[in-house]
Structure formats: structure tokens, C-alpha cells
Amino acid sequence: MNFELTNDQKMLQSEVRKFAENELAPLAPEIDVSGEFPKESIKKLAELGLLGIFIPEKYGGSEFDFVSLAIAIEEISRACASTGVIVAVNNSLTAYPILQFGTEEQKQKYLPLLCSGKKIGAMGITEPNAGSDVAAMETTAKLEGDHYILNGTKRFITNGTEAGIFIVFAYTDKELKHKGMSAFIVDRDTPGFSLGNHENLMGIRATGNCELIFEDCKVPKENLLGEEGQGFYICMNTLDVSRIDIGAQAVGVSQAALDEAVKYSKERVAFGKPICKFEMIQNMLAEMATQIHAARLLVYNAAWCKDAGIKRFSKEAAMAKYYAANIAVDVTRKAVQIFGGYGYSKDYTVERLYRDAKILELYEGTSEIQKVVIASELLR
């Protein structure tokens, strides 16, 4: 472990920060209102290599490490939380499981598409009746000849409306419980696959969130990811990595809120002095800064574990995600507080940040689920 970033990590941080400030931040308020998926931004992110951050160069990726992934997602999310999660889902929820569990053919076919942004990725786990309880899912996949026939509905799927490549989980054998779950790579144009309702969300509004509907959807046999029955393992393994991302996204949103609050507290005058001169305001700023710093270190800590090749880092990943999400809600709340009534107005960024923060405690495992994971390790 070394807290100091390496040369290439520092360069990546400064370039992504500049890009995000100049290209993403100006669009963020607009797409928050319109809910429009930021296609142009995604194209530019692809050109810079941010859609395949840790994917090897031979598959079209940038071949950085997981700490770099965390740095990049933080910087992108600091400018625009919607864009942050779009990139995170593409990298960690789609490209990662293909890299980790895919066959050589699958990697060669799908990874370059995902890294170049020619196709965007999405992952379908959640269903109307299966959220935290993943194993309660009802979608099934039956092998018939050369195809698996998928039937079921997925809900709340980020990138759903725009994605070309979906990782979908379904039961190949419901009897075996979670050991009977399998993962599939599903192309958007597969017959029997259609999109359902679009979600109208409180925050991260420009993420193309929608339902996926599978009606006798014929997925070629070779699109099985990993082995039959390996689905649940693939899902959990992937979530460990993607929790680094969500933690980083939370740190980015929080940092943006702190930056706004610091700036505003120096400008806003009350009772004859800038409000930053009031100790109660300083208290909040100091608490926010400390929480963010701690969260960032927890996120890096999980990424260091992954980079060091440690197999089991569920605890570290869950701690990072739980803590960062938790403080993001608190930090953005304090930022709104420091802005006073202006913080409640859509004219100010902190209003959006407060809404964007809430989802962090919910997706990719609610805070309660993270605590179950952490406690099971600590009480082992």
C-alpha cells in the first residue's frame, strides 16, 4: 500500500478532471432536466479510453489499474453523476465480467465494442420481485438446441435504453437455487428482447434507466457467460468490483458539493461577514472534508486490494461503498444547508447533487446489504 499516486495515475487524474470540468460539467444541469442520455459525451469519453479503463490494450482498452478506475469515476462524477454511473456500468458491470469470465471469442467480440463505445453495456439483475434478494429472480433460460430461451422482466436497468450489450442473469435450473443461476451476454437486437417502461428518477436522471423484457428471447448458446450455474458467483464477483466504482462516484458527488459549499461560504455575507467566518459553518466544512477524505481512502483501499490480486475483498469493497454512499447523502445535505434557501433552488448545483446522492445508498446493494456483508466478515 502506498498512499501516493503513481505518475500515470496523477496524469490521468489531472486530464480527466480537466475534461470533466470543461466538457461534462456544463451539460450536467441540462441533462438532469431533460433526462437525455449524454451520447456526445460518451463518444468523447470513448476516444480518451475511459470506457475500458482496466481492459487490456489487446481488447481495445487502456490497461490501467483499479485505483485509476476509481480516480476516473470520481472525477467524472464530480462533474456529472449521471455520466459517472454510465461509465461505471460500462466498465465494471459489463466489460469486467466478460474479461473475467468470458471465453477468448467473447472477449474478442465484445470488449473492443465496449471500449470504443460502439456499443454501450448494461447489466440486468434486478427484477420487480427481486432486488436485494437476487436469488428470488424469476427470469428463466431454457436450453433448446443451439439457443437459450429467456423469459422474464428486468427493472431499473441503467444504460438500458442505449445499450447494445447486456449481461443478463436468469435461472437455468430454479431447483438448484442460486447454484442454478447463469449469466448471458445478450445483444440488443436479439429476437424476443424489447425495452419496457423508462424510469422517471429523482437523481442521476440521464442514465437511460428502463425495463428489459424477454419474451421467448433466443440467445445463442455461445453467449452463455462462464458456465451454467456460475451466474450467482459471477454476479457477486462483479459487484465487488463495481462497488469500487459506486464508492468513487459517491466521493465525486461529495467533493463537488464541498467545492460548491466552500466557494459559496466565502461569497455569501450575513450579519456583516462572509458566512465562512462562522464556526458552525466551518464545523460543517471540516466534517465534510474529513468524511470525504476518509471515504476516498476506503475506496482506494478496496482498489488496492483488487490491484494486489487479493481474491476476497468483499469486506473492503462493501465498506467503501457503504461509507462513501452514506457520507455522500450527509455531505450533500450539509452543502444544501450552507447554501440556505438557495440550496433548495434548481439554480444551484447543490440541489442536483443532493438528489443525485440518494441513489448511492440503494443500487449495487443497499446500505443494509453492504452492512450484512461487512458484519458477516467481522463476526466470522
Binding site: 503513481t6 505518475n7 500515470d8 496523477k10 496524469m11 490521468l12 489531472s14 486530464e15 480537466k18 475534461f19 476516444e47 480518451l48 479510453g49 475511459l50 479503463i53 490494450e57 487502456s62 490497461e63 490501467f64 485509476s68 466557494k263 466565502k266
Partner: protein, 257 residues
């Protein structure tokens, strides 16, 4: 086409609270962030665009302290081929002329068709280094350049003048241009380019490699200070009716009405 681009690492002061350090001649830099001088990044991009068209090499050179290497590496990631740092720690106080002298000495042995610098550094705002360097190298120069068209031996350049005027010049190469912002759209470095650049070596040269006989410091900073506030601007916010009543109140307080 071989191009040399002179770049400088400068503190980002636009939105920061700037304070004077204990010497009284410089600002506190501890908490500031640093980046490539703005017009230098346009100069670099212009060089990369020309290289993409005609081939050749780009050498970036900077007189700076160790952390300047971070900035040089970014330049490598954006398309430069070689990078040289001249150790600023070897030369006490600097002014525009002395900086140009040191750069000249480092550049003399290099091959070049064009030298680009930014038109102004955002920290000391001297606007001298580029043109002085051209004079010392005895080559033609054009300042405030907003467009360049090059052929083998000559360059056709546009200069930005006051009052919306543009001057078109034809100059023979080798030549030096100080580049104005807005001439192009500087690119961001891609991740792969960053990874490659992180491994590249930066040549570091010190006072042994620089002719130092005639290094001259013509100007010295006496004092740097933040001018005292003379006037206070207050923005009246709220609906038109609200701000009007606030304004009326102020007029009354000041005894104007």
C-alpha cells in the same frame, strides 16, 4: 518539420485566494494547483497539428523545478516526442531576459524549423521570453499568432492586433511564433498515451550544460503586493421589485434621496 515548444508550469490563480509569501516577492504556492500555461497548451497543440500534417518531431522544453516534469509528461502524452527540463534550481532569480538566455543556450544545439512559445505566461505576464529568445537565436519571429500555414521553407501567419485587426505575415524558416489562445482546440491526452508517456524519460540538464558567462538579470522584483480594496461592489439580487426597494433603501441611507 521539427518543432520546439517552450512550456511553463504555472500556478492556477484565477479562482484561488492569492496571498503573498514571507519574502514579499512571490505568492504562497503551497495550496495552489499547477498546470501548463494556457497559451503554451495552444502552442503545443499547434505543433502537434503541424506534425500530423508534415511529420517530424516535437521537442518540449521547460525551465522549471522537479514537478515541472509532470507538465512535460502531459505534453508527451499529447503528442510531443522528446522532453527536456532545465533545472530552475540551478539558477537563482530569473527574469524574462535571463530565462530567454538559458533557453537559447539549451536550444542552440537542437535542430528546428519552428519554435513555439505561448504569447504570455499567466503568472508573471512578461510576454518577453518568446521574442527575446528569437532575437538571441537571430531568427525572425511573429507574436500573438492566431493562424499558421507552413510549407517547407516559409510560413504564412496571422497576427491578432488591437481593434479587431489581423495582420498577415510571410516569414522564412526557421522562425519563432508566440501563440495566442484560441488558435486551435487543445486536445486531451488519451489514457493509452498517458500510460506510454509516464514511462518516457525526460532529459534533465543543469547549469553545466548551459553557457553561463553572460547570464544577466536585468530586472529584479522589489515587492509584490495585493492592492488595498478601494471600492466595494454589491450585487442586489431578488425579483425586480425586491432589488428596487433595496436600492431605494441604500440611496436613503447614503442620503442621496
Amino acid at each position: 518539420m521539427d518543432i520546439i515548444v517552450c512550456i511553463k508550469r504555472v500556478p492556477q490563480t484565477a479562482e484561488a485566494d492569492v496571498t503573498i509569501d514571507s519574502s514579499g516577492k512571490d505568492i504562497e504556492k503551497d495550496r495552489l494547483s499547477f498546470d501548463m500555461n494556457e497559451s503554451d497548451s495552444y502552442a503545443l497543440e499547434e505543433a502537434v497539428l503541424i506534425k500530423e500534417k508534415f511529420g517530424g518531431t516535437i521537442t518540449v522544453i521547460s525551465l522549471g523545478h522537479q514537478d515541472t516534469e509532470d507538465t512535460l509528461r502531459i505534453a508527451l502524452a499529447k503528442g510531443a516526442d522528446n522532453a527536456i527540463r532545465i533545472k530552475a534550481e540551478d539558477f537563482d532569480e530569473l527574469d524574462g531576459y535571463k530565462t530567454a538566455q538559458i533557453l537559447k543556450s539549451a536550444i542552440s544545439d537542437l535542430n528546428y524549423d519552428l519554435i513555439f512559445t505561448g504569447c504570455i505566461a499567466t503568472d508573471d505576464a512578461y510576454s518577453q521570453v518568446g521574442v527575446t529568445l528569437a532575437e538571441l537565436l537571430d531568427i525572425p519571429h511573429a507574436s500573438l499568432v492566431i493562424n499558421i500555414d507552413t510549407s517547407e521553407k516559409r510560413a504564412h501567419v496571422h497576427r491578432e492586433l488591437e481593434g479587431g485587426l489581423t495582420e498577415h505575415l510571410d516569414i522564412s524558416l526557421p522562425a519563432l511564433c508566440t501563440i495566442q489562445t484560441g488558435i486551435n482546440e487543445p486536445r486531451y491526452a488519451s489514457l493509452i498515451a498517458i500510460r506510454r508517456a509516464a514511462k518516457k524519460e525526460i532529459k534533465v540538464i543543469g547549469k553545466e550544460e548551459i553557457e553561463k558567462e553572460n547570464l544577466l538579470l536585468n530586472t529584479q522584483i522589489e515587492e509584490l503586493f495585493i492592492p488595498p480594496k478601494t471600492k466595494e461592489i454589491e450585487f442586489l439580487t431578488g425579483s425586480p421589485a425586491e432589488s428596487a426597494s433595496k436600492l431605494a433603501k441604500i440611496f436613503k441611507e447614503k442620503g442621496l434621496i
